[in-house]
Symmetry: C2
Subunit: 280 residues, 2 copies
């Protein structure tokens, strides 16, 4: 069901369209690069599984030779841990991720901050802030930025204790470092009555913007996002707020979907292209 607030209207400007490799998960990094470029996509966000499968030197070579701009590396984070050893392991892993980002020329790492059922949310939030503070000097030295991505509250048990943009903005202000900012993902944040105000507040540190849509009914908590225009998220309204806040970066399509992953990925890519032009 199409239920955005505005009538569909086609544009032909693809200059700001970016795609996450996870969106076309069945494809290798090489296939993603080839197929995205073929249809005129300009930006790519690389997921680590895809990066590791290609190998970092080869990935770097392919990305450099392509006409694609690397938007970000997904994903760092997962800082909370039950023990000091676990938390140190997460910090070490994030340092590796910073090296990987620098190696492939990704200027940004998106942070899924982490949560664990056994760790109270208030503790997890402290551990996240401490973890980011610890790796920030490494990020700065590598000329890589870190974006806190607030995740939908349905992931507060096991993926992220940062569930609203207000929380992310508060943390960015507390960390007070130009290398840390936020990612706004409409899937996680569309329901929030404070969203417009908090996007405005993020003006100086809004590093990236992710789109997809919320399917009704949602059949799986993780992998049932839908194409833009097929759900109930007011995409143009939120994109408007993001642009009013001065954001001029890519509009990144990040769709986890068991259904679309089972499609022919070229056909899915055509649908993405068309949905982007019509609804974003």
């Amino acid at each position: 069901m199409v239920c955005n607030e505005t009538e569909p209207k086609a544009f032909s400007d693809l200059s700001r369209l970016g795609i996450h490799t996870i969106t076309t998960k069945p494809w290798s990094l090489q296939e993603c690069i080839f197929e995205y470029e073929r249809v005129g996509v300009r930006g790519i966000t690389v997921w680590r599984d895809c990066l590791h499968a290609a190998g970092i030197p080869e990935a770097r070579r392919m990305l450099e030779q392509s006409g694609l701009e690397v938007i970000s590396l997904c994903r760092g984070g997962f800082f909370p841990g039950a023990t000091k050893g676990e938390r140190q392991k997460a910090i070490d892993e994030n340092r590796t991720i910073i090296e990987e980002a620098a190696a492939i020329g990704a200027p940004l790492i998106v942070l899924v901050c982490g949560a664990q059922p056994g760790i109270p949310l208030a503790d997890a939030r402290r551990q996240i802030q401490e973890g980011i503070a610890t790796v920030l000097p490494d990020a700065a030295a590598a000329n890589v930025k870190l974006a806190i991505e607030p995740l939908h509250p349905m992931y507060a048990d096991s993926r992220s204790a940062i569930n609203t943009l207000r929380q992310a903005n508060d943390m960015v202000e507390a960390l007070a470092d130009p290398h840390v900012g936020v990612t706004v993902d409409v899937y996680h944040l569309w329901w929030d009555p404070e969203l417009k105000e908090e996007i405005g507040r993020a003006r100086s540190w809004l590093f990236s913007f992710h789109v997809s849509d919320w399917r009704t009914p949602t059949r799986d908590l993780l992998n049932d996002r839908t194409l833009m225009g097929k759900g109930c998220i007011p995409l143009r309204q939120i994109r408007g707020w993001v642009e009013q806040a001065g954001f001029t970066g890519f509009v990144e399509v990040e769709i986890f979907s068991n259904e679309y992953w089972s499609w022919d990925q070229r056909e899915f890519l055509r649908e993405i292209y068309s949905a982007y032009l019509t609804y974003c």
Copy 2:
């Protein structure tokens, strides 16, 4: 996995335990009443499907003859509609629900306020407030209160556009009528960083309190709640905040679970009893 913040500790006070008939969905109202009383449960919240199956006069008779206190009738609400006619239909339905509550001696109706994929959240929120304002005189005349229950943001597409306690409190303040207040359900609200503060703010209008737990992983958006103590919700902490706000009503067990509904319900009831004493 048991992951509450406190060690399990047994109590034997059942005086504040209430159960929702939907929790033991396979049972008729008659079976619910008989079985709840048999184990010492003192309060019952009646769901409309169960009420209608029994018939209202017979339900009234059974409830009056039982030793159970009727806590509330679930549920009213669903005010948003695409047309004026749909919204009027919802208002008429809520008037019927108010009559049903009065008929069975339920002093409270819990409102699942409603949302629809085609209706922008801001509009849905206005329609909800208008709907409640319209039926409040009927509720007052029937001596029945209405509780706005904020629902988890994962239900913002189709069940409720009221997704935080702050929103519910704002609406109660705007409506400014002693017959309207809120329900705090830990399942919907546990993740909210403002929860403690907003529970304190609800002091004068905190009408009811629902418990269950959040299962990791959650396999179904609607029907995969778990028993208290088997998830990650800090139940005692939240109950503490609710009691610090002066609440002395029932602790109502409301579990939707395909898994538990497939159990022998007497066995499930024993587990509820035990989980309540140990973790709530």
